[in-house]
């Protein structure tokens, strides 16, 4: 944690308690948040205009997710971090280097969609070269898979597994599976379990489902330490993620982090995706950036304008790209196999 010094905060960055995030880092995070928000809001419009059929994503989780993406040990293979994300992690992907057009491509169901070739819902990311395993709509299954990647990582280097889900999804048995398999005595695994607690499971309120306020309380039964952080605060989130990753990376054992966040556009387009009155992490951060004199209003407007232009260009370009054809329905079902007499290359219909 950086030490406070006598320099005024406005010249040093933004602070939460004793923690200060540099102006440079704040601007980097802010730009990611703005770009993520611009992409998501455009995707919501696409879901209503017929350019897409369904939207689900992460407005309200950008502050935490941008900080997460910037601290990933990014790469391919077990010596790098593995990510088992949920469908609200667009800001994490953007922080890791995802171009906005890739999110738009998936929304627009193009063949050029690098995550699913136009097959999966938006925000269902998959990127092997970054160890981002395919996001599934099936709630919490990623928590059953996370011990597997972590088990291999424990044998190689200092990579860790990061698994993300919502508070409502913690009701699934796979959440318990992850706690149990990651904390076996003598076989602890480097897993960072992250709960994004927005207080809702579609229309079911957290307080009507969970008897404990925080999911990390369940970690106590498994000897897993945890922390709750204000996920609407990028400064607090940055340092909480930093602490959690340092712990998991160095001890090769699990840790639980719960981020209290907002759900700004409902569960998905299935509920109309109306804007809620919940605290907006982006607006809150911008007020702090202005107060700390990290950026001025014209500067903010410029970031927003550039993000809108980037999204506009992405929609324009993606709209002209190739769509899947009937000939590609079966493609990528199977990997080529030297021991398969029927499908040596890929699936080609019934035997």
């Amino acid at each position: 944690m950086p030490k406070k010094n006598s320099m005024p905060v406005k010249d040093r960055g933004v602070e939460t308690g004793d923690e200060i995030l540099s102006a440079e880092r704040c601007l980097q995070i802010h730009r990611i948040m703005v770009r993520a928000r611009a992409m998501e809001e455009r995707m919501i419009k696409m879901s209503k205009s017929g350019e897409g059929f369904f939207w689900i994503g992460g407005p309200g989780e950008e502050a935490f997710n941008a900080c997460l993406g910037l601290q990933i040990k990014k790469g391919q293979g077990p010596t790098f971090d593995f990510l088992h994300l949920h469908y609200r992690n667009s800001a994490t992907m953007i922080a890791m280097g995802m171009e906005l057009i890739d999110g738009i491509r998936q929304m627009g169901m193009t063949w050029t969609d690098p995550f699913s070739a136009g097959r999966n819902f938006p925000s269902h990311f998959s990127r092997k070269e970054w160890n981002v395993v395919p996001v599934s709509s099936v709630i919490e299954v990623q928590f059953a898979m996370a011990p597997g990647t972590a088990l291999v990582q424990k044998r190689h280097g200092d990579g860790v597994t990061i698994v993300v889900g919502g508070d409502a999804g913690a009701a699934e048995g796979d959440f318990t599976t992850c706690m149990l398999w990651s904390s076996r005595p003598g076989n602890e695994l480097p897993v960072l379990m992250i709960t994004m607690n927005n207080g809702w499971g579609i229309s079911t309120a957290h307080c009507t489902q969970h008897s404990c306020e925080h999911t990390i309380e369940r970690g106590k039964a498994y000897g897993i330490a945890g922390e709750v952080v204000d996920g609407n605060d990028p400064v607090a989130s940055w340092f909480a993620i930093e602490r959690a990753l340092r712990y998991v990376r160095s001890t090769r054992s699990p840790f639980m982090l719960e981020a209290m966040v907002s759900r700004l556009h409902g569960h998905s387009s299935s509920s109309g995706a109306p804007r809620s009155a919940d605290p907006d992490c982006l607006a809150l951060f911008e007020e702090r950036l202005l107060s700390a004199n990290v950026i001025d209003r014209p500067g903010l407007e410029r970031v927003h304008r550039e993000a809108r232009q980037e999204v506009d260009a992405a929609v324009e370009k993606a709209g002209q790209e190739k769509k899947p054809t009937p000939a590609e329905i079966e493609k990528f079902t199977y990997a080529p196999s030297a021991v398969d007499a029927v499908y040596p290359d890929d699936y080609t219909g019934l035997p």
Binding site: A117, V141, G148, L151, V152, D174, T177, F332, D340, V342
Partner: protein, 349 residues
């Protein structure tokens, strides 16, 4: 057969990159409730959590490992069905970005007086899991060759082990297997009692792949075609041999070996030749995998058939009861297969 599985896993550890063999009671001291994993250097025990087993296998595969996981009885795999679906669609859903080289092996079917939850069949369920490959041996050599292919294949492969045949001795040796069964037993079977200091003395078994999707024609004939796999396959052979002795009728008896992809060429060629087909398995009869084969036979060979094609399968019941009366009358046995086969070949065209 269980020794063949063990030898295949050992070969896989040494030559095909198997990194983890795991499941409930799979590691020492037991080495599997059927002893399929005794002495394996990468075998370890898991919590009693089938979803954790399947999920962890997926994770290991993602991270570059080569896992072979076991569901102790397929009856306990039903709560993993959505994970199995996810495993099967990862490559397709991810636009080809990922490979998921994992093997799931599980004992399937009846034949050990297993009552409600040690007698289920799984192949019909499994055949609906697109993206998976499903194999089921009926003899030790095939178990060895199919397991090696399952390990070598870079896709999810399910190996269904017919539990009634796990103690079966084969009439063909695995390449490198000692000819003396007692010698093999002394080399690789763990002793009863304290086995904490026991180590297997593995024979130098060799590479032997049975390509996925290849059937085996175990009897050749002209009177009719019989397609089966797993526990009912040797019963079909017995029935065919018995009828041949009595009447001279001869049968193509096809051991499918791969449920998916299945060897349609072999089935198709035989039906074209005989015009009569009986498909036999022990899964329950409503939306049975055999019904799919029957549909294709009707679609593609309607005018080749000389009598109605048929399927013999398990009855649509909530389970198989413990009293032998239940099992004998729930799933095909030698007598019912023989009767069905005799009816098939004797029906007037």
């Amino acid at each position: 057969m269980v020794q063949a599985v063990r030898l295949a896993l050992h070969y896989g550890e040494e030559n095909l990159g198997v990194t983890d063999v795991f499941g409930e009671d799979v590691g020492p001291p037991l080495g599997g409730v059927f002893t399929a994993t005794q002495g394996l250097k990468t075998a370890w025990n898991t919590p009693l959590d089938e979803r954790g087993i399947v999920g962890t296998a997926m994770g290991i595969a993602y991270a570059g490992g080569r896992p072979v996981c076991e569901i102790q009885f397929c009856d306990y795999g039903f709560n993993t069905i959505d994970l199995l679906k996810v495993a099967g669609n990862q490559r397709w859903a991810g636009g080809g970005g990922w490979e998921l080289p994992l093997v799931l092996m599980t004992p399937s079917g009846s034949g050990i007086r297993g009552s409600l939850y040690h007698s289920h069949s799984f192949e019909s369920w499994a055949s609906r899991l697109a993206g998976w490959k499903i194999v089921m041996p009926s003899n030790p050599l095939d178990a060895y060759g199919l397991m090696l292919s399952a390990i070598a294949d870079p896709n999810p492969v399910m190996v269904l082990l017919p539990k009634a045949l796990l103690r079966l001795k084969g009439d063909k040796l695995i390449p490198g297997e000692p000819a003396d069964p007692d010698k093999l037993k002394s080399m690789i079977d763990a002793p009863v009692g304290d086995r904490s200091r026991w180590k297997p003395n593995w024979p130098d078994v060799k590479e032997f792949f049975i390509p996925i999707g290849t059937a085996s024609v175990v009897r050749e004939g002209d009177s009719a075609t019989v397609v089966s796999y797993g526990r009912t396959l040797p019963l079909c052979v017995q029935a065919a041999d018995s009828i041949r002795k009595q009447s001279g009728a001869t049968f193509d008896v096809i051991d499918l070996r791969s449920i998916f992809p299945y060897d349609w060429k072999a089935v198709s060629a035989s039906v074209e030749k005989t015009g009569r087909i009986l498909i036999v398995n022990e899964d329950t009869e409503v939306t049975n995998f055999g019904e799919h084969l029957l549909r294709r036979v009707i679609d593609e060979h309607f005018y080749d058939l000389v009598v109605r094609p048929r399927v013999l399968f398990g009855r649509h019941l909530p389970g198989i009861g413990l009293n032998p009366v239940y099992e004998q009358n729930s799933v095909p046995q030698l007598a019912s297969i023989t009767t069905a086969l005799a009816d098939l070949m004797s029906e007037e065209a």
